[in-house]
């Protein structure tokens, strides 16, 4: 029996953060993970994260993972990989399968950070190869460098569905459609808009009826559902796809706290059966703590803060920090967590607002909620959209950020302070000054890729539109292609006049295209002429 002060089960964002926090205060920490690599889901996350500086916003997930791991190892945290915790017994004994044998450990405190598992839905043909979870698609693409297929039906329009949809396009797949049983897109509008402008159609109030194929998926039938979730006869559509990707939610992996005798609650808002925890993430069993999705589904940034809260509480419990420092840290972390939990997408606010108005009172875009893009007519009222008069004076950012989500890197990166969000990070960004340099830092740092630069003074009758671009191969300067509008509908020919890539922008190129001036407020995507099968 090997004893550690703290045993952490799961080396994902929550587990590593908890380990770091505890080790930084001087505790001796051991972390188990059943995978061959630590970092959990972070290493599959190639997109830039939302939030503010303290949440490491505008960093790509896998880079946050690398930092966490280095920090943990630097603090002397011991991480054992390929180690499956198979049981937890009285007095915090943990049985671990390591390779070909069992090892037995005991922790003075245990942190359970086992994360979540993907939900599946069953339909005729759902066991065919080619029906995969969105997480599996990410593992194939972003860990193993494999393309899951050629043409994908994405089931589920939450953030996972739309973000993985975008990554599938980056990997060279086509998305035939994103469907969702709900009448509104579940994820952030800005994530949906990224793929809508690449031509991906959204079918809301639709469900999958059947996967076709004998040896693997060769097609899918989707059908519209009425408000009672019953299929509408005659509304079936057949899609030619070879992959059906399921992004229909997550369930907490909470068997270990159940086995440890923690009181559980079945809470739909938390994704299912989770242990009852106090504000420091301690379960009803003394010295058994939780962190991250295993205690309730949120997202990686929240999981990291939850880990900090847990680690801080354990350091205090063991007498490694004084009351004042503990309280200060806890208040700081709780504040950061509350910021992420604010906004119109928080767990329970959708019913309150009915998804009709922003917190500032602007009417939300209906087309964004149902089709994934903003219509030009809805756009002009938002505070990030400069007036026609301002646009005629030269280059300006167009901030197409119209929903209250917790995010503010645009405010932080602007060297001229043109963009104001304020202390409440769910506020919509406001264009407040006219001294734009055209540097494009805001364009590349917006995790929602919702900021564009428009210069209507570029040439007589022509405007320059700068968009964030993350597809390969990167078109060369002078190359021709097609400018598409927010719905992905081709407007006509455009020429790439400038490409900017910098280390700071971390893979997000700034592509400036020359378009006729009447498309200045329409053209939001560039499709190179030479584009291959991937689209």
């Amino acid at each position: 029996m090997i004893r550690y002060e703290v045993i952490v089960i799961g080396a994902g964002p929550a587990g590593l953060s908890a380990a770091i926090e505890a080790a930084a205060h001087g505790l001796q920490v051991l972390v188990f993970d059943e995978n061959a690599k630590p970092g959990g889901q972070l290493f599959k996350q190639i997109h830039k994260f939302f939030g503010s500086k303290e949440h490491q916003a505008r960093e790509r997930g896998f880079r946050i993972g690398e930092k966490l791991l280095a920090e943990a190892l630097g603090l002397g945290v011991k991480v054992i990989l390929g180690a499956q915790v198979i049981g937890i017994f009285a007095h915090r004994q943990v049985t671990v399968m390591q390779g070909d044998h069992m090892e037995y450990y005991v922790g003075n405190s245990i942190i359970i950070a086992t994360g979540a598992t993907e939900n599946v839905i069953s339909f005729s043909g759902w066991t065919l190869p080619g029906v995969i979870g969105a997480g599996a698609a990410q593992t194939m693409m972003n860990i193993h460098g494999l393309r899951p297929g050629k043409k994908v039906l994405m089931v589920g329009s939450g953030n996972v569905g739309v973000v993985v949809g975008y990554q599938l396009i980056q990997a060279g797949c086509q998305i035939a459609a994103v469907i969702d049983g709900a009448p509104h897109i579940g994820g952030y509008g800005v994530h949906a808009a990224k793929i809508a402008r690449m031509g991906v159609p959204f079918y809301l109030s639709h469900t999958i009826l059947q996967a076709h194929g004998t040896k693997s998926v060769s097609g899918a039938t989707i059908v519209e559902v009425d408000s009672f979730w019953q299929p509408v006869p005659g509304s079936e559509k057949n899609l030619d796809v070879d992959v059906i990707c399921l992004a229909v939610g997550l369930s907490p992996l909470a068997e270990l706290p159940r086995l440890a005798g923690c009181r559980m609650q079945d809470n739909p808002l938390k994704g299912g059966l989770v242990p009852v925890c106090n504000q420091y993430n301690e379960t009803t069993v003394k010295d058994i703590y939780m962190a991250g999705d295993a205690a309730g589904i949120e997202e990686a940034s929240s999981a990291m803060i939850q880990g900090r809260i847990t680690g801080n509480a354990i350091a205090h419990q063991h007498g490694y920090i004084e009351n004042t420092e503990f309280d200060q840290c806890h208040t700081k972390y709780q504040g950061a967590l509350n910021q992420l939990r604010a906004g119109m997408f928080k767990r329970d606010s959708r019913k309150e607002t009915g998804l009709r108005y922003t917190q500032e009172g602007y009417t939300l875009s209906k087309t964004l909620l149902t089709k994934g893009f903003l219509s030009t007519s809805e756009l002009s009222v938002f505070p990030g959209i400069p007036t026609e008069v301002r646009r005629r004076q030269g280059v300006t950012p167009i901030i197409e950020c119209t929903q209250n989500i917790p995010c503010n890197p645009c405010q932080d990166v602007c060297p001229k302070g043109c963009i104001k969000i304020g202390d409440k990070i769910t506020n919509l960004p406001v264009m407040s000054a006219s001294s734009c340099l055209g540097c494009g830092l805001c364009v590349a740092s917006c995790p929602g890729q919702a900021i564009f630069l428009v210069d209507e003074t570029y040439e007589d009758q022509f405007a320059a539109v700068t968009i964030p671009y993350e597809l390969v191969p990167l078109p060369g300067e002078g190359s021709k292609g097609v400018a598409c509008d927010r719905a992905g509908i081709p407007l006509g020919e455009a020429e790439v006049i400038h490409i900017r890539t910098t280390a700071y922008n971390d893979g997000t190129a700034l592509l400036t295209m020359k378009v006729p001036i009447e498309w200045a407020m329409e053209a939001r995507f560039f499709k190179p002429d030479h584009i291959g099968e991937g689209g």
Binding site: E34, Q84, V85, I86, G87, I88, F89, T95, M97, D100, H101, M102, Y104, T117, N119, V120, I121, S122, F123, S124, W126, T127, S251, L253, E255, L256, R258, L259, D266, P268, G272, L273
Partner: protein
């Protein structure tokens, strides 16, 4: 085996087959929706009972994929809200363990 099970509630009506009965719900153990519906008809009223009757959730993934679906089917068949159907119990080991590991276990050998 099924004949040996005493019906907990007298069936008022014969079992009605449904179109999607042939659909597999528990992939690891290859159990169909029809079998689960039949189990409920036969008197299995909780997830644990269905599990012991059919082996749903006892395969490689230990119910990670199917347990929600099984719960929904039981709830639907019994016409009760899904929350009233208790989730099946968790047991050590929570991951499949090869018997060779237990056979060679230091802690066991000492005894």
């Amino acid at each position: 085996m099924k004949e040996c099970v005493i019906r907990r509630t007298a069936a008022k009506e014969p079992f009605m087959a449904k179109l999607e009965d042939s659909m597999i719900v528990c992939r690891c153990e290859e159990i169909t929706k029809g079998e689960i519906r039949q189990a409920v008809y036969d008197g299995m009223m909780t997830m644990n009972e269905v599990k012991r009757y059919l082996r749903t959730g006892m395969g490689l993934c230990q119910g990670q994929s199917c347990s929600r679906k099984v719960r929904d089917i039981i709830a639907e068949e019994m016409s009760v809200p899904r929350e009233t159907i208790e989730i099946s119990s968790a047991r050590n080991p929570i991951r499949p363990v090869p018997m060779s590991i237990y056979a060679n276990d230091k802690a066991c050998k000492r005894r």
